[in-house]
């Protein structure tokens, strides 16, 4: 009975003391700012900054290899907090928001789909059950992908809650139809369609799709809209969000966000 106790006890003491000496020898000084920065980051580990989680970004910021405003999800608020901890000034960055480039709520089905209820699965079967091959399938892959609860399926069609959206980009990769685009919050006019079908084909299946009539192109004073491949495309460098094309668009494909964002308190865009 005695020897086993002595063996384990003695070895335990010996190894314990060895580790104590080693820990003194190999002690690493950890910068206290890492913990504080990690504390102010959102903590959702979305990876939009390109580093391994919020802890990775915190270390990179302290190390100097990442910018204080590198957190995409946190936006300016977090950038300011991180900058305060680091004692530097945050550079201003345009806040982005996810824009859904489709509003075809009432597009009919081509066939009866009875498979797995995800957009990516439905998309594999001849591009999904909807008549429009470019539009939203409506099974809500984006809603499931959003880590910030900013996308909700309302009557089978996704709505982006722009107050919650942090532009992390998860929905952009989740959507098999590539309908999401991250665009600056300061831009208030967007084409909400991605269909490259001819105007005639679009008109048959969707009331709100771009029919490539070219009226927006004609009315724009800033040369910011062009119809390419049967679809109106914005040049956001030139667009001033004046809203002339919104009024002109016969199918209401081009949508103005000004009123809606004013209501949500997102416009005018706050600068810290």
């Amino acid at each position: 009975m005695l020897p086993p106790i002595i063996i384990l006890g003695a070895l335990g003491l010996l190894f314990g003391f060895g580790l104590f000496v080693a820990s003194r020898l190999f002690r690493v000084h950890i910068d206290a700012r890492v913990g504080r920065i990690e504390h102010v980051l959102p903590g959702s580990n979305c990876g939009a900054c390109g580093l391994a989680g919020c802890g990775g970004l915190a270390r990179a910021v302290v190390h100097g290899s990442a910018d204080v405003a590198a957190c995409v999800a946190g936006g300016e608020e977090v950038a300011q907090l991180v900058a305060d901890i680091m004692g530097v000034e945050a550079k201003k960055k345009d806040k982005l928001v996810a824009i859904l480039k489709c509003q075809g709520r009432d597009v009919a089905d081509r066939y009866l789909y009875e498979g797995v209820r995800t957009c990516s699965a439905a998309n594999l079967l001849m591009g999904g059950p909807k008549e429009c091959l470019f539009g939203c399938i409506g099974f809500g892959d984006c809603e499931k992908a959003c880590p910030f609860d900013a996308i909700h399926m309302i009557n089978g069609f996704p709505e982006v809650d722009e107050t919650k959206c942090t532009a992390c980009g998860k929905c952009v990769t989740a959507c098999p139809k590539l309908l999401y685009q991250l665009l600056p919050l300061s831009r208030l006019v967007h084409v909400r369609c991605r269909s490259l079908d001819t105007g005639r084909a679009v008109r048959k299946i969707c009331k709100v799709g771009c029919i490539a009539c070219g009226k927006c192109e004609a009315v724009c004073k800033f040369d910011a809209v062009h119809v390419r491949d049967n679809l109106a495309v914005f040049d956001y460098e030139k667009c001033t969000s004046c809203g002339a094309c919104v009024k002109e668009c016969p199918t209401d494909t081009i949508m103005g966000y000004r009123a809606q964002r004013k209501k949500l308190g997102l416009w005018p865009v706050k600068t810290v």
Binding site: P4, I7, L8, F15, G18, L19, A22, F26, A52
Partner: protein
């Protein structure tokens, strides 16, 4: 001399810990995503295995095994035989203690010396403690060489088997990481991406390594 060379080749290729004995599969799949990580893990395992073998041999020979060198036999053994001082039932717990200590040591050293490697190994570094290959080599040494009459030969073969086991681990995990780096860029069916195709590749590698069994003939 010949027996040492044979022992080394046998443990590296023919009786490879991963692909022939199927020990240590957790880090083999977990850390073989990039070559850099795999090599770091490989060397950590070589260190732990070699040191664990040596320390475990000393403990086994002088404390646990019923040999004339057993210090309890020399201390209390008057009028008794060495067989009365057989504590080999404590092998597992004592070896785990040795391995855990060594892994802690490696962890501290890596955190100080190579922080990026420490980061990338993540949880798999402390998991070497429960890596069955390391405990496996310690137990295997005892059953293979523990009862050799010549203590110095027994010690040398033990350390060589530990070192060879680590080298075999490094070799296989390095080969695997090369394969997996290429797999990253392959256009695979989604269901096979990641771990499933890695398992298939590991199986094929194990089949290929079975070919080394013919080396001895």
């Amino acid at each position: 001399m010949q027996s040492y060379i044979l022992l080394f080749i046998s443990i590296v290729l023919v009786n490879n810990f991963i692909l022939a004995k199927f020990l240590g599969l957790c880090p083999f799949i977990g850390v073989s995503k990039s070559r850099h990580q795999a090599v770091g893990m490989g060397f950590a395992v070589i260190f732990v295995m070699t040191m664990a073998s040596a320390v475990a041999w000393v403990i086994h020979h002088y404390l646990l095994a019923p040999t004339p060198h057993n210090i309890f036999y020399q201390w209390l053994g008057e009028g008794k035989t060495p067989a009365d001082f057989d504590f080999t039932f404590m092998q597992t717990i004592v070896f785990i203690l040795v391995i855990a200590t060594l892994v802690q040591l490696v962890e501290m050293f890596l955190m100080k010396a190579i922080p990026p490697l420490y980061e990338s190994l993540g949880i798999y570094l402390p998991l070497i403690t429960t890596n069955c290959a390391v405990l496996g080599v310690a137990l295997l040494n005892v059953s293979d060489f523990g009862m050799l009459r010549n203590a110095s030969e027994s010690f040398a073969k033990t350390v060589l088997q530990g070192f060879g086991g680590g080298v075999g681990f490094l070799l296989v995990i390095f080969l695997m990481s090369g394969v997996r780096e290429r797999l990253e860029h392959m256009d695979l069916p989604r269901a096979l991406r990641g771990a499933p195709i890695a398992f298939i590749c590991a199986g094929l590698m194990a089949l290929a390594f079975m070919g080394f069994a013919g080396l001895g003939h």
